[in-house]
C-alpha cells in the first residue's frame, strides 16, 4: 500500500528547460553581425517523472533528447528553466551539495567502448564511485564491487575484477558500466541509448537487468532512445521530441494505440516490423529534419507535415492535454 503512494510522487520535474549552444562564427562574421546564433538543442521542455517509473525521451538524431538527459543530471548547465529532484530545486546547486546529489542520480552511456577508462581494471572502474564519495575502502570496497558484479550477471565476479576493458565484449562492458552506476544505490538513472550499440542477442539481457533494478533497488529511469520498439518494450510513459521540443507525451498505450501528432504517426509507420506477411502503410513525409539553428517559424514540423495549414507556419502550438495523461502539440487538436 505504502508503495503505491510512493509511486505517485514525482522524483524529477523539469520546467521550461532550455539549452542553447552558441554557434562558432568566423572572424569576419563576428565583425559584421552583433547577434550570436544558437543551436536550440532543448527549447522549452517540461516533464515530470514519477518515482519508480521508466520515462522515455524518444526521437530522431538531433532532436535534443541526449542534451535534455544531460541537463537533468546537471552534466550540462541549462540556459534557463528549473530542475527539481525530490521536490528540491537543483538547478543552481554547486560544489559539495552537487557532489552529494550525484550519489542519487547516475548516468549510463551509449558507447561502452568509450565510457570505460581503458587503463582501469574492472575492480577499479566499478569501485571508483565509492572512492569519490568516500563510502568504502580496501576490502570492504572490493566486497561491494564483487556483489554488484554478481548483480549485473558477471559471474563468477572473481573472474572479472582483474580484467581490463579490452578483454571484455561489448555486452560485458555495458554490464560493467551498469555495475558502476548502481554501486552507489542511486534513486534515479539516466540511461542514454544503453543498448543501441549492443548486438541483438545480448540486448535483452541488459534491458532485463535494468527492469530488475527497478524492482529490486526501486530505481527510476529516464530512458533515452531513438528506437521506438525498445521504448515500447521498456517504458511506462514516452515523450516524443522533435527539434528540441516535446511534440507528444503520454503512456505507451495512448501513444502507440492512438498517436495524435502527424510526426508520431509517421515515426510509428516507419519502424520495421519483423513480419514479412504484414502489409504496411506509410505516411509520406517530405524532406528531413531541418537544422536546429534555423528553426522553422510556427510549428517546427510544418514544412514536413502533410496536414500543414496557414496557421501552422505562423503560430506555435502548445503542448496541451487532449485526454487524461495524453499531451499533444498540434493545431489539429482543437
Amino acid at each position: 500500500m505504502a508503495k503505491k503512494v510512493f509511486m505517485l510522487s514525482e522524483i524529477v520535474k523539469v520546467e521550461q528547460l532550455k539549452k542553447y549552444f552558441p554557434v562558432q562564427k568566423s572572424f569576419l562574421e563576428q565583425l559584421f553581425t552583433r547577434e550570436l546564433s544558437y543551436v536550440k538543442a532543448v527549447d522549452n521542455v517540461a516533464f515530470s517523472i514519477r518515482s519508480g517509473e521508466i520515462f522515455t525521451l524518444a526521437g530522431e538524431s538531433g532532436c535534443g533528447k541526449t542534451t535534455a538527459g544531460r541537463v537533468v543530471v546537471r552534466l550540462l548547465e541549462p540556459t534557463s528553466g528549473k530542475i527539481y529532484f525530490n521536490g528540491k530545486d537543483i538547478t543552481k546547486l554547486r560544489g559539495e551539495k552537487l557532489r552529494l546529489l550525484r550519489r542519487k542520480m547516475q548516468m549510463i552511456f551509449q558507447d561502452p567502448y568509450a565510457s570505460l577508462n581503458p587503463r582501469m581494471k574492472v575492480v577499479a572502474a566499478v569501485g571508483h564511485p565509492l572512492g569519490i564519495h568516500e563510502l568504502a575502502k580496501g576490502g570492504e570496497k572490493k566486497k561491494m564491487v564483487l556483489e554488484v558484479l554478481e548483480k549485473v550477471g558477471l559471474t563468477p565476479p572473481e573472474q572479472f575484477v582483474n580484467l581490463f576493458p579490452h578483454q571484455l565484449s561489448g555486452g560485458q562492458r555495458q554490464r560493467v558500466a551498469l555495475a558502476r552506476s548502481i554501486i552507489l544505490r542511486p534513486e534515479f538513472m539516466v540511461a542514454d541509448e544503453p543498448v543501441s550499440m549492443i548486438d541483438v542477442s545480448l540486448r535483452t539481457t541488459i534491458i532485463d537487468l535494468m527492469l530488475n533494478f527497478r524492482k529490486e533497488l526501486g530505481l527510476t529511469y529516464l530512458f533515452i532512445t531513438h528506437d521506438l520498439a525498445v521504448a515500447k518494450y521498456i517504458s511506462d510513459r514516452i515523450a516524443i521530441m522533435y527539434l528540441g521540443k516535446i511534440i507528444e507525451m503520454g503512456s505507451k498505450e495512448l501513444l502507440f494505440l492512438d498517436p495524435k501528432h502527424p510526426y508520431t504517426q509517421a515515426l510509428l509507420l516507419a519502424i520495421p516490423v519483423p513480419n514479412p506477411e504484414l502489409e504496411r502503410k506509410r505516411l509520406g513525409l517530405t524532406g528531413e529534419v531541418p537544422s536546429a539553428i534555423d528553426v522553422p517559424t510556427g510549428c517546427r514540423f510544418h514544412p514536413r507535415c502533410p496536414y500543414n495549414t496557414d496557421k501552422c507556419s505562423k503560430e506555435e502550438p502548445q503542448l496541451i492535454e487532449v485526454e487524461k495523461g495524453h499531451f499533444v502539440a498540434c493545431h489539429l487538436m482543437k
Binding site: 520495421p272 516490423v273 519483423p274 513525409l285
Partner: protein, 330 residues
Amino acid sequence: MPLLKVDSLAVDYRTSRGTIRAVEDVSFSLKKGETLGLAGESGSGKSTLGLSIIRLVPYPGVIVKGHIKIDETDIVKLREHEMRSIRGRKAAYIFQDPMTSLNPVKRIGAHFIELIRTHEPNIGKEEAFERTKTVVKNLGILSERINDYPHQFSGGMRQRIMIGLAIALNPDLVIADEPTTALDVIVQAKILDLLESLRKVYGMALILISHDLSIILERCDKIIVMYAGHMLEYATSIEMHRNPKHPYTQGLLQSIPNIELFDQKLVAIPGSPPDMFNPPKGCSFWPRCSYVKKICRVKEPPLIKVGRNHFVRCFLYGKKGVHVERNRKS
C-alpha cells in the same frame, strides 16, 4: 539459371595472431529480381560474405575454398583486371557509411561521370552527364544538385547518392551492406523503399546485409542467418517467420521487440558470441544453445533440408530432414 551461385565458400583472415575462419561452407543461389537478406550479429561474417562476392575482402582476408559464379563465370579464379569488368557492371556494392564513401572535394556529378567513363571509355562527357541526370532524378534528388559537393547533402541524401553510384552502370546484382544503419527511422524507411523501387525498375537482384532482423524480414524474399561464419538457417522469409528451426534463429526472433505487440516478453539468448580465434568445437552455437546434445559438442552439423526452400544446420533435425547434395566438384 541463377544469376549468382555461391558454393561451399570459405574465407580466412590470416592475421598475426592466427587464422580466423570468417566464412565457412556457405552455399546459396540467387535469381534475377530476387532479394536475399543476410542477417547476423557483428562478427558473424555477413559483410565478409558480401565483400567476397565482388572479391573485395580486405587484407588479410583470402577466399580459401569454394566458387562464386556470377552468370556462370567463376569469379574466384578471375584475375584482378578481369574483376574490374564485373564490379560495378555485374555486381555493385553499397557501403555502410555514406559519410566517408564519397570524395569530399568532388562534385556529385563528377563521381558519376568518372564512374561511367571509366567503365565505358567510349562514352562522351555530354552523354555521361545526361545519364547522370537520369539516375539522379530516379533517386529523388533535383538534377540541379549534381553540381553540389557531398558536404552539402544530408546523411539520407548521401546514402541515396551511394545507391545511385551502385546502380549507375545497371548491374544485375546490388549488395547493400547495412545501408541504413547510420540513418533515422523515417529516412531508413525511405531509403529501403527507394532500393525496392529501383530494384523493380532496373530488374536487379539485391542482397541486403543487416544486423536488424526486422528490416530483413520486412524487405527480403529469402534469408540467410549467419553466426560465427556459418549459415545456420536458410529459408524464405515467410518460412523463417512462421517456422524458424534453428535455436539461434528462434532466439533472435524472441529477442527483437515488435512494435505491433503489447506485453511482449523478450527472451534473451544466454552467453555471448564465440571468440573467432578460438571457436568452439562442433556446432558454433552449442555453448549458448538450450537444446545442446552430446553430438553438438564434437561434430559440426551439416546443412540439411527440412522443407521446401528451408535449410538448417542443426542436429535437432537430423533424422527427419534430408541431407542436401552439394556439388563438391571443382
